[in-house]
Symmetry: C2
Subunit: 221 residues, 2 copies
């Protein structure tokens, strides 16, 4: 059985969970309080981060490495385009969400509001939250601009770029930080991705002490 | 002619420069003050980051996307292993350096000491520098531990993981932040990589107002 050490509101873990589910790979989810840095956990990944995937006798870390491995070993359905230019555009967008969006939005909102509290590492920083609330508007507009020209974020097909973006937005939706009325194209895109069977496990996530917003698991939001 | 918009002491740009040179692709380097966020620059990459590569009529952003594109279109010499497990290990290490090492070391030392000053965004933060000086020791030890077991960081062959690591360490060496006496294996590895023709352009870099350490360009350091 494939095993994934994860934290429910980690966008990086959610991206991997979506890729696993889309490729119809069953996985045992093991929730890990990554901030406690237990020696067993650090032995699996010296970087002290989730996700960590146990598969084919290997222990893999870093969401990018894991998603690449899944694509290499289970190519159907493809989540990375085959054309070099299309691959580069997909990777640019994965970088956009996992680096820029993460730093400017997810970290400022989800980590400040939820991870800090759960890991008992202090109180939310008001300035960070304010910056996050401002930044998400620009990002939703940018996504809307992309989706005006494309069916999915990186082009005509669903790719890891969509899963990276949806992983971040679903964490932010849990904490009620997404204004879905801001951009219709983005809302339609999220509705499409949210209704995929691969999304079910994510919509069932619960972090004790933090209820998701009322519409979080609602396919008609 | 291939064009690269870059900043000399950006580890992400250096990784791309090493990959280009290793694949014997000539490139015109265009230095860009990325912090000024000119509209021309933002039109090339809305993320406001370097590197940006103009190649084959395409404008590519994000070092990961660029290196993937180069590997896809110029496969020789290979910088990404062909075996899925080896690829995952390489990607894990690229993530290690470009995320963890960058946050804990490069940002705290090179960005605090040099980027901040060059971009006139304030003065170095003493606490950040202290954290960086402490963290680099752990990272050099970890690299030494890997190199005890392997010829190159990710396995028997030179890969992008070595270029990612060398890109960061070369920026830190410029500012005199690497204690090469700490680990002999790491020093030998860096001497090997530093003597490659691909490294020459990096050793010739100069940032006005900041002289590199005396041994920076010295192959016998």
């Amino acid at each position: 059985m494939i095993q994934l050490w994860h934290f429910p509101l980690s966008p990086f873990c959610r991206k991997v969970r979506l890729a696993l589910a889309e490729k119809k790979l069953e996985v045992e989810l093991i929730e890990v309080p990554y901030w406690e840095r237990s020696s067993e956990f650090l032995r699996r990944n010296a970087a002290g981060k989730v996700p960590i995937l146990r598969i084919d006798g290997l222990t893999l870390a870093e969401s990018d490495a894991i998603c690449g491995y899944l694509e290499d070993t289970v190519p159907t359905p493809p989540l990375i385009p085959s054309d070099p230019a299309a691959r580069a555009e997909m990777r640019r967008l994965v970088g956009w969400f996992d680096d820029k969006f993460h730093q400017e939005v997810t970290r400022n909102l989800v980590y400040e509001r939820i991870h800090k509290k759960v890991s008992r590492q202090g109180y939310p920083d008001g300035a960070a939250i304010k910056a996050g609330v401002k930044a998400i508007k620009f990002h939703l507009d940018y996504m809307g601009w992309l989706l005006d020209q494309r069916r999915w974020l990186a082009g005509p097909d669903l790719t890891l770029a969509d899963f990276a973006a949806a992983a971040h937005l679903s964490c932010l939706d849990y904490s009620g930080d997404v204004d879905w009325s801001r951009n219709e194209g983005v809302r339609d895109w999220y509705a499409k991705i949210k209704s995929r069977p691969a999304f079910r496990s994510i919509l069932a996530d619960v972090v004790p002490g933090f209820r998701p917003t009322a519409h979080y698991a609602d396919l008609d939001f």
